[in-house]
Symmetry: C2
Subunit: 562 residues, 2 copies
């Protein structure tokens, strides 16, 4: 069930991350050559759950699912677009942030996963700019409060109308006793580089900051009088477009609906199968290698569009992960398997490499980067089982490297004619898919000694059977057929017996050794503190600020500083 405390408005039992513009209730996407306008116009009745209304362009996960979809489509379907204008269709309000009644009534698990997804969406907006030259300009024509300003913070450029009343604000702390947890605090200090004392004043001032002070304190890039706003927006859009290297004449591909068939205990996609073993609290995700060799030319790839195997798999895998995250809270561990011809997987990697200057190849690599990060940030124990018949090669090997531990079978299985399992590395394992700490998964793995990384690199392209893979440090355990079943059964049973919260904290620490980036700080420092606050009675208790907001009653706080 998606949320134990709430009913979905559509009467269903699962949150669905798939949508398309024809179904949007909250966003309007307007295309005009190099410039797309993404207009926020939240339908207050079209809520994901029952029990609240989305007034003043406030949002719930349903609104964000559409936003994430729109940004993906701009990347794939409209490669000619160089600038997104992020605007509101409502008068005098840009966005009031996450809906408070939704938050107040949501389970802890939903709140945490809601924030995780909205964070990933905002990171995606930044990634579109950094990796694809698709910039975002946020035009604030009214109030941008809380999550509304956090959305603006994801843009490359923030314009605020100078009308004496429009302001940006992060009123979470004074109003609700929670944090601006969708990256807000971290982007204020680390992206906008607002002076820490100014940030302190800003984040404790309910009404926010407007006009010249908003610029002086680096909260927005410019304030513009209403009469000059439209020409200024056009001017900025043209300036950002001029810097973009997106192709002016490319034709996009349609992100067609996923082939997806749900049964009681699993989901079948075209390249991904999810099997749920509820008794053992396991989800097994099997990714399938390609059936056919890669196309000969980039044009052929464009022709295949969303059916092109790497793109199809990335989209299906992303959907499978998101579905487990918010709809299957009881799943303790995700077991990754693969099936197919590793040589074909490598051939697709080689094809994408050969065409890495092509916009679509770049977008597909970028999508894989984001999907792999989504796996890194999934709070379930992650395991790879590498068996005969698997194809953990190149891009697919990254899935194994994203897991908390991996088991590889030595040799063949009795009664099975499949050759011994092998994994294979390609260049993509050494930089194409950085984690949120900016290192590749192998660099994160071999923090201790760069020589280990070099040793692995020397094996690029070779099939690495279990003993070699273990010796190179690429898998955790190599087991023979006799031990395999028992060892893995015991491990998975043990994992399911541990405290789910303890595992979440443990994995969030062990997965991200080494350096930090703004992105990793958001998922570490900021998110962990927010999760703590989401447990504290001062926020979520019956007398807490989230529960009492809008009731006319003041919250009652335990005044101890911890």
């Amino acid at each position: 069930m998606a949320d134990t405390e709430r009913k979905l408005s559509n009467g269903g039992s699962r949150i669905d991350f798939q949508t398309d513009p024809s179904r949007y209730r909250h966003w309007k996407l307007k295309l005009d050559g190099e410039v797309a306008t993404l207009l926020m116009d939240v339908d207050e009745k079209a809520t994901l759950f029952e029990g609240y209304e989305l007034k003043l362009n406030s949002y719930d996960l349903g609104v964000d699912i559409e936003l994430a979809d729109a940004v993906e489509r701009l990347r794939f379907e409209h490669p000619q677009v160089k600038v997104i204008l992020l605007r509101s269709a409502k008068p005098r309000v840009f966005c009031a942030g996450a809906n408070i009644r939704m938050l107040a009534g949501a389970s802890h698990a939903h709140k945490v996963n809601f924030c995780k997804f909205t964070n990933e969406t905002r990171n995606g907006i930044e990634d579109a700019s950094e990796s694809s030259g698709l910039s975002t300009i946020c035009v604030i024509n009214g109030t941008a409060a809380g999550g509304g300003y956090e959305l603006a913070l994801a843009a490359d450029h923030i314009m605020l109308i100078d009308d004496g009343s429009s302001a940006v604000s992060l009123p979470e702390l004074p109003l609700l006793a929670v944090l601006p947890g969708t990256g807000g605090l971290t982007r204020v200090t680390d992206k906008r580089k607002v002076r820490r004392d100014h940030a302190d004043v800003f984040c404790t001032t309910e009404e926010g900051v407007k006009g010249k002070r908003a610029v002086d304190w680096r909260l927005v890039d410019e304030v513009v009088p209403g009469s000059k706003l439209e020409p200024a927006v056009i001017e900025r859009a043209m300036a950002f477009a001029a810097k973009s290297k997106r192709p002016a004449d490319a034709k996009g591909i349609a992100l067609t609906p996923l082939a997806r068939k749900r049964a009681e205990n699993g989901v079948e996609y075209s390249t991904v199968a999810v099997e749920l073993d509820r008794a053992r609290r396991l989800a097994t995700i099997t990714v399938r290698g390609p059936d056919t060799p890669p196309p000969k030319t980039a044009d052929e790839m464009v022709g295949q569009g969303a059916q092109f195997w790497p793109l199809r798999l990335a989209r299906e895998l992303d959907d499978a992960i998101l579905d487990i995250r918010v709809n299957e809270f009881e799943v303790a561990a995700i077991v990754f398997k693969s099936a197919g011809d590793g040589g074909q997987v490598l051939a697709y990697d080689a094809f994408l490499d050969a065409n890495k200057g092509h916009w679509l190849a770049r977008e597909i690599r970028g999508l894989w980067k984001r999907v792999l990060k989504r796996i890194d940030l999934t709070s379930r124990s992650l395991v790879a089982l590498i068996e005969p018949g698997s194809c953990f090669a190149g891009t697919l090997a990254e899935i194994a490297f994203a897991t908390d531990r991996s088991y590889m079978l030595i040799g063949t299985r009795g009664g099975d004619n499949k050759p011994p399992a092998a994994i294979a590395l390609t260049d993509v394992n050494f930089g194409a898919y950085p984690m949120s700490n900016a290192l590749s998964r192998l660099a994160s793995r071999f923090l201790a000694d760069p020589a280990d990384l070099a040793r692995a690199k020397a094996e690029i392209g070779k099939p690495l059977e279990a003993a070699t893979a273990a010796e190179l440090g690429l898998v955790t355990f190599a087991l023979d057929d006799i031990d395999w079943e028992d060892e893995i059964r015991v491990f998975l049973e043990e994992r399911a017996s541990f405290s789910p919260d303890g595992l979440t904290g443990l994995e969030a620490n062990l997965r991200f050794g080494g350096p930090e980036t703004m992105e990793s700080k958001i998922f570490a420092r900021l998110t962990a503190w927010q999760n703590w606050i989401f447990q504290r009675p001062n926020a979520v208790g019956e007398e807490g600020a989230l529960k009492r907001y809008g009731t006319g009653q003041k919250p009652v706080f335990d005044t101890k500083r911890v």
Copy 2:
């Protein structure tokens, strides 16, 4: 009150951080030339609180207060010591970690502050090595479990006896459903650089890892058979001593007891006054400048010993901060004031600079660095009030830069003949006292534009009155006498009205912009996750693992992954 759920064993109402070797109950300090042995021999009856026994060298805050004291004394009283051997006096056990019954019965606030102090103590052990050349070798002759292994992780070198049974372990997750939160997870990944999948196995294996695997997995530096242990320890100690630049022939100074007089609403030290306004939930800490000019020579400084003003003030300020942290949970904000002659403060800074090659000057600077970090990490709103008669210059200006915001009075006060307040910068404000993010407080403040830092640097040595200080960005607000009282009263009332938890999370984010270090990761990612887990029923509920440990009953978990 120190802890609302527990009674102090000594019948008192406050935890005292002051101790000395004559009063140690848990540690024995043996000196032998360049080598000191710090022997852990916990007296199980000598607990800080009632209700538990410190079996198997397990520890509570009282044990750690002695450890912190011992390390400080080695730095100041025994400058000839180059190596600390950290050992256990108990047979077959090194240390069993934080006492579980103590944790199970402690308030959330005590748990959080206990972990913060033990973290600071372990950071202090590492700092002694890095900044003073005082290395630590940990000799594990038995079991080092949980906090016991985390203590070992603070050492430069870990030796484990190879006797077939002695092991290192982090069994927090499987046994207690909490994290190894005293730096354990972060030091495993970032200091020992243990491969992430090995770390996953290690941290979920109750019995830990021993022998060759402990070395192969980088958990310890060497394993040594019992018969060869003592000669190997001597050999390692000599090798580390040979690398140390600590002075062989210096005579230490005695860290004499602090002059401290406690009243109902405050504490008086010789250079620090703490005034508690319980109704307004404020603590005002006034630091006093020196009464006399600095000594002429380093020998004179050594002669003054613990009475030397910068050292006296640092020790008193440290004690005052720690006292508020664990004994005054209701204090919402700490207001820092200063009184004295800024010129004299600068003269002391110049004296320490002129003698920076001297071991004692170096130790004093090092202590100030740690005390200022302690302020950064104190979960109370921090405010500096810079008024006529104050002396926020050089080292003391760092206190103002450590605050969340600062207010400076413009000009003079009616009926007061003191000249206008001025602050002054010295070289120490640009690197001598890094925060845990490795940046100076001014570099953290001016992340946006290095030119701001350069502008401030150009003003070194000049008295900077309010308008100039504000223009340079060194203070948050400059106010004249007419607005002063009201503005500050309203601000402090507002601060006390906010959610204490929300403020803790907000300040923990805004204070540490920019880069992260292993140390800042411990206080961010690891600590915040641990604090979350310390709120979760799976750990602390009636059926949770912490509560049920040792009862024979298994914990019952809510199996949702969040």
